[in-house]
Amino acid sequence: MTAPRIRLVVTLAVLAGLALLPPVSAALGQDFYVDLFTRIMIFAIAAVSLDLILGFGGMVSFGHAAYLGIGSYAVGILAYYHIDNGYLQFGTAIAASALIALFIGWVSLRTSGVYFIMITLAFGQMIYFLGESVNQFGGDNGLNIERHSDFAAFLSLDRPVTLYYFVFAWLALCLGLGWRLVESRFGMVIRGAKSNETRMVALGFHTFRYKLVAFVIAGAMAGVAGALLANLTLFLSPSIMHWTRSGEIMMMVILGGMGTLIGPVLGAIAYLVLENALSGFTEHWQAILGPFLVLVVIFSKTGLLGAAGAWRTKSTHA
């Protein structure tokens, strides 16, 4: 099997597995998994969005949790003022995170390498401290959200399973859009800019514009993840914007396989399932998770997906 075919098969298998998870966990009487995997899929959306710029565009944004926060606060703040309309809440979450990504990207993309990492990190922390300082919306104590986003008669997110499939639909949509995006002319430009930016400029591409648009798309997608997260936790807290959260999202991308779309989804599943399982054993779960991540990165530069591909190739050759 060729690499794209392996990715397609893995993608379909993962989506089928996720689609079947609620009835299976209900049959097993383990409803807890529905909540866990809702959370996993939300972080998978954030990780896919980061990978669009990190894995495909070579932009190492270390402030990606900021957009998660902005999406989340958009929902929370509107709910605080009793504006529960879901279309309005999600529309605001997308518009606000896109707009802030436009500003942050417009400034940050003038730099590259370590400077880009530092400047995106700085912007991320600025937004984190902003969230911590606005006491009206809970400050660092956080704020409860009274109601789920209201999509009227269309669907009610009050039922965990409905919320699960709502998040699932968003994940499938983001994967589909991401797939078209990276294969399109636009996608070829940002991938070319990752591979060799000087050459792209010499070919006549204004790479800055394309990278900025990619940055905005990724920010908006992470904003959706934030809006979904607010609906899952019904709680606003600046901690979801902390830089360590940005690091976790980046870890999911690297763990699963940068520069593929299904890789970050696998990364989110592996990271959060491990976190969940290990934290049941010991409070020092990070001491086990850390070395595991190091091993994956050392032994497979292309993450879990690359490891699966290598194993597959080996077994077909044997």
């Binding site: 399109s184 002319r185 636009f186 430009v189 070319g192 591979s195 006549g204 204004h206």
Partner: protein
């Protein structure tokens, strides 16, 4: 004499105490292959960098097709038809040969804010790229990652990418550098076949190739253009002989 396609007017560039380009005024005529030669350190690469827009001159002007392009960025110059190849092979290593050239075709096909249709299945990009690669003898290597091509194949790919943007003038920076004699000869044939189709400004150390290809030459020494003319005229020029054969000739 027809009007020059590319011309410089008293172009000047200093790096500290070193005058790398010293009042250079050259004219490249439409359709010609114009070679710039000179000993190491003569300022050939600095000159090409200013023409391509990678370096800004301290003073003087660059005119392309009658318009002043001195202040334009590299990307904008490419869009007007002034393309360059690189001295050091500069391709997209992870992309296939066909992807490399398709991307170059895409660069000249309007903006790339197309988010939906697959670029790799777009005949408007693939067909011209395949044709170009076939003309340059790389048909059998379309799917090979550019990083895995041989040195001379990479150099050929580089030429294909430059031509894919349908430029009016190509700046070729040492296209034969590092090539085996056999590959070098084939490349000279390919460049000769381009004569008349596209105007070429050629920087090259291989004198046999230069004299085989060039319609006219400009000789650069210590940043100054000391002679311009047909190969015969330049060969007979005294100043050129001194520069190339050293002061002991005096």
């Amino acid at each position: 004499m027809p009007e020059a396609l590319l011309a410089t007017r008293q172009l000047r560039k200093r790096f500290g105490g070193l005058v790398a380009t010293d009042d250079v005024s050259v004219e490249i005529l439409p359709g010609e292959i114009h070679a710039v030669i000179g000993p190491n350190g003569a300022g050939k690469t600095t000159l090409i960098a200013q023409l391509a827009g990678d370096l800004q001159p301290d003073s003087g002007a660059i005119l392309f097709a009658g318009q002043d392009v001195t202040g334009l960025t590299a990307a904008d110059r490419v869009r007007r038809g002034l393309a360059r190849s690189f001295q050091i092979t500069n391709v997209f290593r992870e992309f296939s040969a066909l992807d490399n050239v398709s991307l170059a075709v895409q660069a000249s096909a309007g903006h790339s804010f197309h988010f939906w249709r697959s670029a790799r299945r777009d005949p408007a990009l693939r067909e011209p790229a395949e044709t170009l690669l076939a003309e340059l003898g790389l048909s059998a290597r379309l799917g090979v990652a550019a990083g895995n091509l041989s040195h001379s194949e990479k150099r050929t790919l580089e030429i294909a990418m430059v031509l894919a943007s349908k430029p009016r003038l190509v700046l070729l920076d040492e296209p034969l550098a590092g090539m085996a004699p056999e590959d070098s000869r084939r490349m000279v044939q390919r460049l000769a076949a381009l004569k008349g189709k596209v105007t070429i400004l050629l920087i090259e150390h291989d004198m046999d190739a230069v004299f085989a290809l060039a319609d006219r030459l400009t000789v650069l020494v210590y940043g100054r253009a000391i002679a311009t003319g047909t190969p015969d005229v330049v060969r007979a020029n005294e100043a050129v002989q001194r520069a190339y054969f050293g002061d002991e000739a005096e």
